[in-house]
Assembly symmetry: C2
Amino acid sequence: MKRTKIKYALNAENALNDILIKGWVRTKRDSKGFSFVELNDGSCLTNIQAVIDHTPEIVEVLDKVGTGASVAIAGSLVESPGKGQKWEVRGTSIELLGEADQETFPLQKKRHSDEFLRSIAHLRPRTNKYGAVFRLRSELAQAIHRFFAERDFFYIHTPIITGSDCEGAGEMFRVTTLEPGSKESAESDFFGKPSQLTVSGQLSVEMFALSLGDVYTFGPTFRAENSNTPRHVAEFWMIEPEMAFADLNDDMDLGEEMIKYLVSHMLDNCSEDIELFAKWVDKSLMPTLETILADPFERVPYTEAINILKKTKKQFEYPVEWGMDLQTEHERFLCEEKFKKPVYVYDYPKTIKPFYMRMNDDGKTVGAMDCLVPRIGEIIGGSQREERMDVLLARMDEMRLEKEDYWWYLDSRRYGTAPHAGFGMGFERMLMLITGVSNIRDVMPFPRTPKSLEF
Amino acid sequence: MKRTKIKYALNAENALNDILIKGWVRTKRDSKGFSFVELNDGSCLTNIQAVIDHTPEIVEVLDKVGTGASVAIAGSLVESPGKGQKWEVRGTSIELLGEADQETFPLQKKRHSDEFLRSIAHLRPRTNKYGAVFRLRSELAQAIHRFFAERDFFYIHTPIITGSDCEGAGEMFRVTTLEPGSKESAESDFFGKPSQLTVSGQLSVEMFALSLGDVYTFGPTFRAENSNTPRHVAEFWMIEPEMAFADLNDDMDLGEEMIKYLVSHMLDNCSEDIELFAKWVDKSLMPTLETILADPFERVPYTEAINILKKTKKQFEYPVEWGMDLQTEHERFLCEEKFKKPVYVYDYPKTIKPFYMRMNDDGKTVGAMDCLVPRIGEIIGGSQREERMDVLLARMDEMRLEKEDYWWYLDSRRYGTAPHAGFGMGFERMLMLITGVSNIRDVMPFPRTPKSLEF
């Protein structure tokens, strides 16, 4: 018989004479003449309860079944007399697929700390919380692809290994096939020149916006930054849409539409898993998500945001002045206290932004935008790109960049340039927003951080 | 006015009084009193024709408009009197967004070699062929996510940087933040130990199969192999499903269902782009794709496949004997000449397969399978995994693997082990199958190969 996933058994329309379920035992409780087994197969948060009458053969198997064991139970699906569940399995046979030594199995039924669970990242998806995290992670990734597909954006795989150490978004990892300590030059290396792991697919994906129109990347990105914070990891996933014939307003519109789409999609499709987080992880999760959906995001020019921050009585650790980059405390003040909803800050000083952002007419600011959301701070950073060759070259001179390194990038301005804009969204930050999880390590299958590369 | 993508203009139901289109000029032809402009915006293969009556202002703009320029044309959408197109734009204004110097623009209207276009990979998506390649690439990736979503598989992002140099699937790139030539030990490196780019997410994703049930990865994968062939690149994308409570037959069923789903989805949704390849790239493309859909795939045990290869009169470069790995010539003979359809070969000698494949009762073969398709050869390689701890440990001893390196992998067999199976499919190989493109470099945005890391 084909196994039925527990998700479908729990949502059955009718009782079933024959059913086969398989999964991992969460608890087993023995009673006189029968046993209760709570089984989970990862298809959903809720366990199914199986009630199994004792026979000599069954008792022999049940004796070896403890928390964490994997079993197959055959029987019928019947209405449950118990509270809180519609269906249960009346088991007529149980097969032990894999034992779990009760002395050493680390996931006995009790509450475990996130720190401890990180040390057994290979087992933590068998807990309620992390099972839910990774189901939500999967659905969020699916929703992102759907969002773009519905809008005729093409998905582009920009390269992970890059020869341009000039992407400018952060410290980079080197990639090599030379032996450690080898004195051979980069010419003898695999690619014949220095190579790194990408920090952003933007420059590459711009080439595709300027040929296919609306495009996006969704892939892993790397930062070799030696910072141990709950917001940083060395390897994470990023979404970078890029639109031809679009300006900064179109860019902000797309970001807002995307965040609302994702929040709304997740609430509609994953309510059971999200409720776990609303109940146990972050009591303010639902109000936060509802705020995001409720109103248009605030849009404030950087200069005005600075004035707001200067005028407030609130004390900040970092003093506020025009020309500075906003710190997390400023970002959170703007969206959590001042506007009480997501906020776009736009038109930043050119001095704190990369060369490719479009110069505004004031000559001082560029068409950049950050989207700030409650609890997370910056979730999106983007800009209209400088499409005017002369302005772009002047900016590169100002920032002392080697134009030869960018010959192909400049070609896109040389031949049929067009206004275009895009942004980057940290996938894990979006998932943290949706779950209320506060440490990025806890929304990644196997997080990579300084001095930590287990699994 | 909002721009209309050319794909929607060409498929309009009715004429439109007002329309705004933007894109890149493919050709311009001047006539007495008016000009024809063929415009493409990447949204589809077909250009739209704009007919623009001359006025002094318009002529001034048109003089600067050549192949490759980007323009915005406003006017009305009217029925085309010309053949081969239903609609055309009657342009009343044209704006030049970006010139393209006709002396140097490399994509003048003529046929270019694939080799030449590889040297301008940043511009090649502006050609018919490569625009189609990357639209198909995008749709194929979308279809893969949909295939798994419809079957309740969870999408898992397994790590790219890995500490296990023992994944065993090929030569690996090292990842480091130490300076080139540095004599510092791995302990001083970013992760405090040697780190590499992944060659397969399988071992990691097995942990998720054994907690969430049905899962898959879809991400970049790396091989530091110094081979310059039309089938190999250093960085490519791979799909790796993994199913709990599944055996080798379930695995072959899933692979067959997936290949058929993808071929059928692409034929249904991308006929215009696929026809380009059927017409210009591979005349046998349509029959090949139809064969894939027509019948169940052949399933042949390895031992029987060897006997077939020994009995045929065909001469092979590599002599055939039991215990050898099949070469491309053997694979292609089996599916192109012997069975004339996709073929699974399964139950391979254990000596040519990795430690994690499930030992068969004969003690000589393991539950491995390869799916061979016409023109490509192997497109899927998979196995049932060894879930029995004692057998797995014995195999690791035989192959002299350090068990300490695999402590977490072994935990999954120690606690609630269960039968499971999965496979890997090369994304680019699937795209080559669907397009008939014969060089893997020509289905990747910016291919990475030995001594080649431009863009």
